[in-house]
């Protein structure tokens, strides 16, 4: 990578590279300002003549499949992350690529996990050129230390779909781990010893990639029912002993936080929804699988019962706690993006009201609408929030990569976006003057809930009015910040970030929102 990278200032006042991995970029223009024209990307036309008439697309192993797909130096290879930290297929595919002598690949996972740190060796040996996808832990450090040859590109789940659909990223070969599949390539995630629930993150890959390989450890005779991945998009099927470690694919039980401070935050969030009148018959909400989010669902459930209120739908990351809402009749549907625990997997596999969705239906900004904006309230986390309600979810305050964006940016489209965060962590204030890395523009973030009080974005006078007179501790954001400053003993020093971009944060429309700089 050349050391001189041209920078431009975007509409959020952030310096961003004009060129990323050889492609010219559009700096963030403001929320809703960038509307590209043109047509979507598309895979090549294929003929049934080139596929076995008996539908049996099996080949002996991944090397054969990759060779048959024509994998060459510099191509893009993709994976989904539904098997989370238990996934074995992504590394299996990359190592197979290494064995057939391919170099300089761009690895395009929908997210990466700590157990995939083997990708570092593959970058060092030249098999992988760079990664476009979330990078945490050792991979994140490798990137922020400036060791990756290309620039990292962080996209939201919806943004990944948008990039594929708009042709920003062309997937040459998609390798899809499938907990159940038939020899034709129909595949599903809700059954099998490595069941993971929905396979929604692999849908873009299966429909837009030039070549598609399904890898399964549970081959069933045709037809694999239900099928979320359509075999008609699939070139090859590879059978392996194991696609992942079930213990790390889903957690046996997802745990509610036991921290009294975090429980207090969760209870405030639930009470806010109730007192602001958002929790009413037919409403909808989304909450993740973090400790605070789970506790929030538990509090909200009690309040819904007390008030006799029922939701029309809830959005997952599904967990036991959402499944219980469904079973108790407190929601009509779960619209599930990914499935976090065994109860979730069991439910999506057996209850027709628990529906698998995809980043296309839920999150894609370049579509004819998406579900995220139909959700009444969403509860999210953040590593930092600034006094203008801008938030960071990808880096530590020292600039090191910490989290992927996930669906976080996409969820900001909800009717009421709530960030549930402690007011400080290890003496480091969470509410600060300016976020280290801008991941979400403040104009889309409505409420910050901390254990010391609730700050409502002044842009949302309607919410301020709705909770006027309630017993909730509504406070100006500056007020909470000042109190925490007193507790922590003054303002933290601002770590000096490097001046060489190592990764970029994309906004949901594909424009560049901010830059991750090299750290020591």
């Amino acid at each position: 990578m050349s050391d001189r990278i041209e920078l431009a200032q975007n509409a959020a006042g952030r310096s961003v590279p004009a060129m990323v991995n050889g492609r010219p970029q559009i700096p963030f223009l403001g929320v809703g300002q960038y509307q590209p024209r043109g047509r979507k990307a598309a895979p090549p036309i294929c003929s049934s003549k080139d596929y076995p008439e008996n539908g049996d697309k099996r080949v002996a192993n991944l090397e054969t499949a990759l060779r048959n797909c024509g994998l060459r130096n510099g191509m893009v290879i993709s994976n989904h992350h539904h098997l989370r930290d238990g996934d074995q297929v992504a590394l299996m595919a990359l190592e197979a690529a290494a064995r057939i002598g391919v170099k300089d690949l761009m690895w395009f996972p929908s997210a990466s996990f700590p157990s995939q740190k083997g990708a570092i060796e593959l970058m060092q040996s030249g098999v992988i050129h760079h990664i476009e996808g979330s990078m945490n832990g050792p991979l994140g450090d490798y990137c922020t230390q400036g060791k990756m040859r290309g620039m990292g590109v962080l996209r939201s789940h919806g943004g990944r779909w948008q990039a594929v659909q708009d042709g920003e990223v062309h997937i040459d070969v998609a390798v899809i781990a499938a907990p159940t599949a038939d020899a034709f390539g129909n595949a599903d995630g809700s059954h099998g010893k490595s069941a993971c629930g929905s396979l929604g993150f692999a849908l873009a890959d299966s429909t837009y990639a030039d070549r598609v390989i399904v890898v399964t450890d549970n081959l069933v005779p045709f037809p694999c029912v239900p099928w979320q991945i359509q075999g008609n998009n699939v070139d090859y099927v590879v059978e392996v002993d194991s696609i992942g470690d079930p213990a790390k694919i889903v957690s046996g039980t997802t745990q509610i936080t036991r921290s009294p401070d975090r429980l207090r935050i969760a209870e405030f969030v639930a009470r806010f929804l109730r007192e602001a009148g958002i929790m009413r018959n037919g409403f909808s909400f989304q909450a993740g699988a973090g400790g605070i989010a789970l506790a929030f669902v538990d509090y909200l459930r009690r309040m819904m019962k007390e008030d006799g209120v029922k939701a029309r739908f809830v959005r997952g990351g599904s967990t036991k706690f959402l499944v219980e809402l469904l079973q108790e009749g407190l929601t009509d549907y779960i619209l599930d993006g990914q499935t976090f625990d065994l109860d979730g997997v069991k439910s999506i596999g057996s209850d027709p009201r628990h529906v698998a969705t995809s980043p296309f239906t839920s999150y894609n900004y370049h579509g004819k609408g998406n579900f995220a904006s139909l959700v009444d309230a969403v509860v999210l986390g953040a590593t930092e929030v600034d006094v203008n309600f801008n938030a960071n979810v990808v880096t530590h305050s020292d600039g090191r990569l910490l989290h992927g964006i996930g669906g976080w940016q996409n969820c900001l489209a909800a009717g009421c976006t709530i960030l549930a965060v402690p007011s400080f962590r290890d003496r480091i204030p969470v509410i600060i003057d300016e976020v280290t890395t801008l991941t979400g523009p403040g104009e889309l973030i409505d409420v910050i809930v901390t254990e010391r009080g609730i700050a409502i974005n002044p842009r949302r006078q309607d919410l301020l009015d709705a909770v006027k007179g309630s017993r909730l501790p509504i406070r100006p954001i500056q007020d909470i910040k000042a109190e925490v400053g007193r507790i922590c003993g003054g303002k933290p020093a601002r770590p000096k970030l490097g001046d060489r971009p190592v990764a970029v944060v994309k906004w949901v429309d594909g424009t560049v929102l901010d830059t991750i700089w090299q750290c020591a």
Binding site: P260, R264, D426, R427, I487, G489, G490
Partner: protein, 403 residues
């Protein structure tokens, strides 16, 4: 022989804790030396943000303790400034330096003194050696917090906890909570008083009280310290009775000082003293609890129940609390914030009780206005003690925000 040269008796020492699972604390190692000035090394989880601030604070603390030559190694896990000062001071003193000097953190405004008969439904125990629990304790809304120097503190950490609690009384905002300190059993408890009384806690809990003399001893010591430091606000006493002998002497204990505002019971030790098992319905301590209660009421002070030890059993806690209130107790101890709202509900008068009491009070006022000596409600005549009880209940409910 008194050694007048401190540097010859000084030795390396440590204080505090560090490690991956430690939060909001730090470890300080002090190695005194005869020359060479101060050499400070710092490893901190928050070094990038507060490294400079921690180093300058360390120098200030050492200066106020009169330490001029030493190697100091700090492993910090994101401790707040009042904890940093306390750990450095403890290490310095353990190393035989510092003499009687204190490194006091900046003092925040002292809250109003608490009235003798204030609401004391819930008091949250905070282990005196665990600073991470201090800062957010008040957010959970207990009527009081107890900075504990006794059972929750290992005997090797008593000196450290004393300094930490002293600093917390100066620097931590405990909001609307009454600030209580549980000292150690005498005579160790007297050393605790020397350290904490200058910081004006609202109340001292005295553990394992068996005789009135123990209360008088604490009371005298507090008086001496108060007059020395010209403190003129009240510091209340709450003796904890934890033995058969203590129960027998309950009334004498309750009346041992005019500063005793409440009497409470420690059931773990009491049942151990009796050699019986503590049960969920508490029948083995029924006698002790009612005896203590009667003694407290006879002395005109509050009676406060023990803690409920099973944090996971909130239903059991509620039942215990409701029964406790029915017996005449006015509050309980808490060992986890989740117990606080349950206890507040258990000790709150029911809506029915409040309505009835309001009716009785209204009838009484009407009778007064009409100059009638006899108060009646419907067909029933209301006796003066019933009126008095109703007035108390309405006042309590108002204080709890339920009427």
């Amino acid at each position: 022989m008194i050694n007048l040269n401190p540097s010859t008796s000084a030795h390396p020492a440590e204080a505090g804790h560090h490690g991956q699972d430690v939060r909001s604390d730090l470890q300080v190692a002090v190695e005194p030396r005869d020359s060479g000035g101060l050499e400070i090394t710092l490893e901190s989880r928050v070094g990038l943000y507060y490294g400079g601030s921690i180093l300058s604070q360390t120098r200030q603390v050492l200066e106020s303790l009169g330490v001029k030559h030493a190697r100091i190694a700090i492993h910090d896990e994101g401790a707040l400034p009042f904890v940093i000062s306390a750990r450095i001071e403890t290490a310095v003193k353990r190393g035989g330096l510092g003499g009687n000097q204190k490194a006091l953190p900046e003092k925040i405004a002292l809250p109003e003194p608490t009235p003798r008969d204030r609401l004391r439904r819930s008091r949250l125990y905070l282990p005196g050696s665990e600073p991470k629990y201090f800062i957010n304790a008040a957010l959970h809304g207990p009527d009081a917090i107890i900075l504990d120097l006794e059972d929750s503190v290992h005997h090797a950490e008593k000196d450290a906890a004393r300094i930490l609690v002293r600093n917390a009384l100066r620097a931590v905002d405990f909001g609307h909570c009454e600030r209580m300190v549980r000292i150690n059993q005498l005579p160790l408890g007297l050393q605790d008083l020397t350290e904490v009384i200058p910081e004006e806690p609202d109340l001292i809990l005295i553990p394992k009280v068996e005789r009135p003399e123990q209360v008088s001893q604490v009371d005298r010591m507090i008086d001496e310290l108060k007059s020395r430091d010209r403190i003129d606000r009240s510091i209340w006493l709450m003796p904890i009775v934890e033995s058969a002998l203590g129960v027998e002497n309950a009334f004498a204990i309750a009346t041992a000082s005019p500063n005793v505002c409440a009497l409470t019971i420690g059931l773990e030790d009491y049942t151990a003293d009796l050699g019986v098992v503590k049960t969920l319905d508490g029948r083995e301590s029924q006698y002790a609890r009612t005896r203590l209660l009667n003694a407290a009421k006879a002395a005109g002070i509050q009676a406060i129940d023990s803690v409920f030890g099973d944090v996971g059993d909130l239903a059991g806690l509620r039942q215990w609390g409701e029964n406790s209130r029915a017996l005449g107790f006015e509050g309980m101890g808490c060992i986890h914030p989740s117990q606080i709202p349950v206890i507040h509900e258990a000790f709150a008068p029911s809506q029915g009780e409040i309505e009835k009491a309001l009716k009785i009070v209204a009838a009484f006022e009407e009778a007064q206005a009409r100059g009638l000596g006899v108060v009646s409600l419907g067909s029933k005549m209301i006796d003066p003690p019933v009126v008095e009880r109703a007035r108390k209940l309405v006042a309590t409910a108002k204080a709890m925000g339920t009427a």
